[in-house]
């Protein structure tokens, strides 16, 4: 049972071979993906990698994150002792003991303590997985197997060192007790006669666990040990709040219906997933019982790639369709249409996987190549293309909201700000009141502003998120042309969807605008003393604020709307349980506004109930879609005594009396 290089060396070589083959198999599949530049800004990338991969910043954001942190850092530190173990197994003369004592002894202490911490963390992880797993499917044999392997490694390590200590000449014992306290404790449990046996068994157990781990790693979800760090390095440095452009020339393919049409980074994402389930636990579709589960989407892409890899490498047609029946390795259409593009999954993912853009890419295939989509969308698409608004209302009605007031057209020589009213603000009977309130506030503060009137076009947000990139592309170009011709530089929007599209999506078309959401603009006006308040809007009673995904999570504007409410009412709004970057979607983003919701509970009802927990008199929003979703939801739960107000309306109550 003693260590034997003649047996160990071939085993190590075989294991290294299996490890290398596994890594090659998976990473060569990643290389099948389309080109995408993630090599810019290397300095920032290194910083992100240190912060999120080595610093585990996002991992630590959840209760069991600390446990993972311990396992992660133990792994890194124990790389030293494990490398020594492997080398020593082949060349018995190699040993850390050759290091100077000043390094060797502290190193022993670190290894001893860290091994114990890792053992404890692994046991905690096992217990958690048994009694309260992150999600039910997380109780996989694979997960327990890996945890058991790590536990074996740690225990075998104590076995080896314990046996060594139990045989040490007495003069060394004091040093051993100081620098290997845990192993010394184990040594005390070993009968002197059993020392050699314990050493041999532990050594081979350690060898077996280590080699098995090495062989198994690249074939399991623990591949993330190798891929998560580069994945943080290659993350999208800006927020993933837009989708990439497509080029519309004959012969191009559109969207993704085959794994190798994703970019290499998309494919690396699929290999980097830790299956922690954090994304699914914040996904509004998943929570309300829809079949969409962002973790499963990422997993299915990986399985699909593995199943079709050999064929794709030869350029042959894959056997398992990427968009299909929803079995493992294929994503069902209902899954693809369920996404509200709220971005909660991406905000939660500890390794920065970008789930939402992958879903939009598959939508693009369905819309652009197949013309297959939920039937409600046909009208939307035609209305957008024909009349540049979702309802198909005549563009000449765009200015009806301001029929009762004098509003100037935007003129670059005399007007500072363009008020981009947006389709909801122009046509939706409820949102028109928000437009009026905002316009009156701007006038009162003496802001120089104007509108495009009948020439204003839809920004195209819903189309882009729904995968109708072709029509979005035309609308974006049209808007960019109008903005450029009219000399628009600064834009105020009252809709976070217009806000994000003008600000982030149009950048891809070379249009750099200064876009400001009305909540920020109004807050600034009051704080700068340009907008005087005449009283408070205290009659709105107790308020609670709901974050719009496209203002908050996608653009990091969290404080401005809250501050407007506080300035106007004198009290900060109450917070719902899920708020700010953890807020729960109203259900209308990603074009879901225009679709039926057939499966599970309605997302807006879930959110309305959460708001009602705070016993508000008024629910405050900063988005016309949220406004609709809340008003509809309140009617459905028969709580229509609760009002819904946009922040502009809240402020108008205090400023326009």
């Amino acid at each position: 049972m003693t260590p034997n290089p003649t047996i160990f060396t071939p085993l190590l070589i075989i294991s290294l071979g299996i490890f290398a083959w596994g890594c090659w198999r998976r990473l060569s599949l990643v290389a099948l993906g389309q080109a995408e530049n993630r090599f810019d800004n290397i300095g920032a990338r290194i910083g992100e990698m240190l912060k999120y991969a080595f610093g585990q910043k996002r991992v630590l954001a959840k209760p069991f994150g600390l446990n993972h942190f311990v396992i992660f850092w133990s792994f890194i530190i124990l790389l030293v002792s494990n490398t020594e173990f492997l080398l020593h197994g082949v060349f018995p003369s190699i040993s850390l003991a050759h290091l100077p004592d000043g390094i060797y002894f502290p190193l022993l202490l670190v290894i001893d303590i860290v091994s114990l911490l890792a053992l404890v963390a692994v046991v905690i992880a096992m217990v958690r997985r048994i009694i309260a797993p992150p999600y039910p499917e997380a109780r996989t044999i694979e997960a327990f197997f890996i945890l058991a392997l790590i536990a074996t490694l740690m225990m075998a390590n104590f076995g080896i060192n314990g046996a060594r200590i139990s045989h040490m000449p007495v003069i060394y014992l004091a040093v051993a007790h100081t620098y290997m306290p845990v192993s010394s404790f184990v040594a005390g449990l070993i009968a002197p006669s059993a020392g050699a046996l314990v050493f041999g068994v532990s050594w081979w157990a350690h060898a077996a666990a280590l080699l098995l781990f090495m062989c198994y790693l690249p074939h399991s979800k623990h591949m993330h040990i190798l891929t998560a760090i580069p994945n943080c390095f290659f993350r999208r440095l800006e927020k993933p709040n837009t989708q990439p452009r497509e080029e519309f020339v004959s012969g191009n393919t559109f969207g993704v219906a085959q794994a190798d049409r994703f970019t290499w980074k998309d494919l690396l994402d699929s290999m980097a997933c830790t299956e922690c389930g954090r994304c699914q636990k914040v996904c509004p579709a998943n929570i309300t019982g829809k079949p969409l589960n962002p973790r499963a989407v990422v997993h299915d892409i990986k399985v699909n790639l593995l199943e079709n890899g050999a064929l794709l490498k030869q350029g042959a047609t894959p056997v398992t369709p990427l968009i299909g029946d929803g079995g493992e390795g294929s994503v069902a259409e209902e899954v693809i249409w369920g996404c509200t593009t709220c971005g909660a999954c991406m905000e939660a993912c500890p390794v920065f996987i970008e789930q939402m853009p992958k879903i939009v890419k598959m939508r693009r295939h369905l819309v652009e190549n197949e013309a297959r989509f939920p039937e409600e969308l046909l009208n939307l698409f035609e209305n957008m293309e024909g009349r540049s608004n979702p309802w198909g209302i005549a563009p000449s009605e765009r200015t009806k909201w301001c029929a009762q007031m004098e509003v100037k057209p935007f003129d670059k020589n005399t007007t500072e700000y363009l008020l981009y009213v947006g389709c909801a603000g122009s046509f939706d009977s409820r949102s028109k009141h928000v437009s009026v309130a905002l316009a009156q506030l701007l006038d009162k503060a003496g802001v120089s502003w104007g509108i495009l009137g009948k020439d204003e076009k839809c920004c195209g947000d819903s189309l882009r998120r729904l995968g109708n990139e072709y029509v979005f592309d035309r609308m974006a170009k049209e808007n960019v042309r109008i903005f450029t011709e009219r000399g628009v530089k600064k834009v105020i929007t009252q809709c976070p969807h217009c806000f994000s599209t003008l600000k982030n999506d149009y950048k891809q078309y070379g249009l750099e605008l200064e876009v400001i959401h009305h909540s920020e603009f109004l807050r600034n006006l009051v704080q700068d003393g340009r907008l005087k308040l005449e009283g408070t809007s205290a009659e709105l009673g107790a308020t609670v604020f709901h974050d719009s995904c496209y203002l908050g999570r996608h653009n990091d504007v969290y404080d401005a709307p809250r501050e407007v409410i506080e300035l106007a009412t004198g009290t900060a709004p109450a917070e719902m349980e899920r708020n700010r970057n953890n807020a729960f979607c109203c259900g209308a983003g990603g074009g879901r506004m225009w679709m039926e919701e057939h499966t599970g509970e309605r997302i807006n009802l879930t959110r309305v109930r959460e708001a009602l927990e705070e016993k508000p008199d008024t629910i405050c929003v900063s988005c016309p879609y949220c406004l609709t979703m809340f008003e509809d939801g309140l009617k459905d739960v028969k709580a229509d005594s609760v009002k819904v107000r946009d922040v502009a309306e809240v402020l108008a109550e205090a400023a326009l009396r």
Binding site: V367, F373, A394, Y470
Partner: protein
């Protein structure tokens, strides 16, 4: 068998205004669309193509810019698109229009393939006459099946068709031999959405233009000269402006009560 769909480019009438001075349609800046009823005729032709492998030709008579309408049809998958455009076709009423369209269909019948069906929308949203389809059937001596909301059966080999006609308060199932001209209503189908690769191909595709040198029609039977009817005046009936009752947003219930009182006062609410 060749299926011919006739489509027309019309101004988006919801956006059309009438010039009060000249009493003509103000067409400037008004976008054009495919006449909505015609989109259903086109869709049905494409479905017949999918089911029976018929060839589909689409015809449109109009000014040169009506080519855009034909490109939309190409993007949806028709095999050929022909624009009937010539100055001498201009100013046509329904009779003169049906003369031109019939001549084109005859030409397709002799040069491309035997025409089995001609599909038209039940009417256009700008002229609203519903006469051109029946006019074509008459000129060509085809069976005439109007207001079709369902094709029950098409026997391509036996050259027969059975359709359902949507009439006021009832449906009529009619069977007829081919060739036949059908005018269709919206309930017939849901038009498809174009796929991007087809849109891109349509942008490069050839739209054939046939003028009167191709059709060689007697100038007395086409255009203004061939039109026994002409529009002498278009006007919008004067609308007496109503009144805005209350404030429905601030006080929905009170406003509804105002309305009810008003209707009661005018004896318009049977109680």
């Amino acid at each position: 068998m060749l299926v011919v769909a006739c489509i027309k480019q019309v101004p988006d009438t919801t956006q059309v205004q009438i010039d009060p001075v000249t009493n003509t349609l103000v067409r400037e800046g008004i976008p054009f669309i495919v006449n909505p009823y015609d989109t259903h005729a086109l869709e049905e032709a494409l479905r017949l193509k999918d089911r029976f492998g018929c060839k589909v030709a689409v015809l449109s008579m109009g000014p040169p810019n009506a080519e855009a309408t034909l490109r939309k049809a190409l993007a949806l998958g028709v095999d050929m698109a022909i624009l009937l455009s010539d100055r001498v076709f201009g100013g046509a009423d329904t009779l003169a229009t049906s003369n031109v369209l019939s001549a084109a269909i005859r030409k397709l019948n002799s040069e491309v393939d035997e025409v089995g069906l001609v599909l038209c929308g039940k009417q256009t949203i700008d002229g609203d006459t519903a006469q051109v389809g029946p006019g074509i059937a008459t000129r060509l001596a085809y069976q005439q099946l109007t207001l079709v909301d369902r094709i029950d059966n098409l026997d391509v080999g036996g050259k027969r068709i059975r359709v359902s006609r949507k009439l006021e308060g009832r449906h009529e199932i009619v069977e007829a031999p081919l060739p036949a001209m059908l005018t269709v209503v919206r309930e017939l189908n849901r038009p498809r959405y174009p796929r991007v690769p087809m849109r891109l191909a349509a942008a490069d595709a050839q739209v054939e233009v046939w003028n009167n040198q191709v059709l060689k029609l007697d100038e007395q039977s086409i255009g203004l000269k061939g039109s026994p009817t002409w529009v002498s005046k278009i006007f919008s009936p004067e609308r007496v402006k109503g009144e805005i009752l209350g404030d429905g947003y601030a006080d929905p219930e009170g406003t509804a009560a105002l309305l009810i009182d008003k209707l009661l006062a005018k004896d318009m609410l049977p109680l």
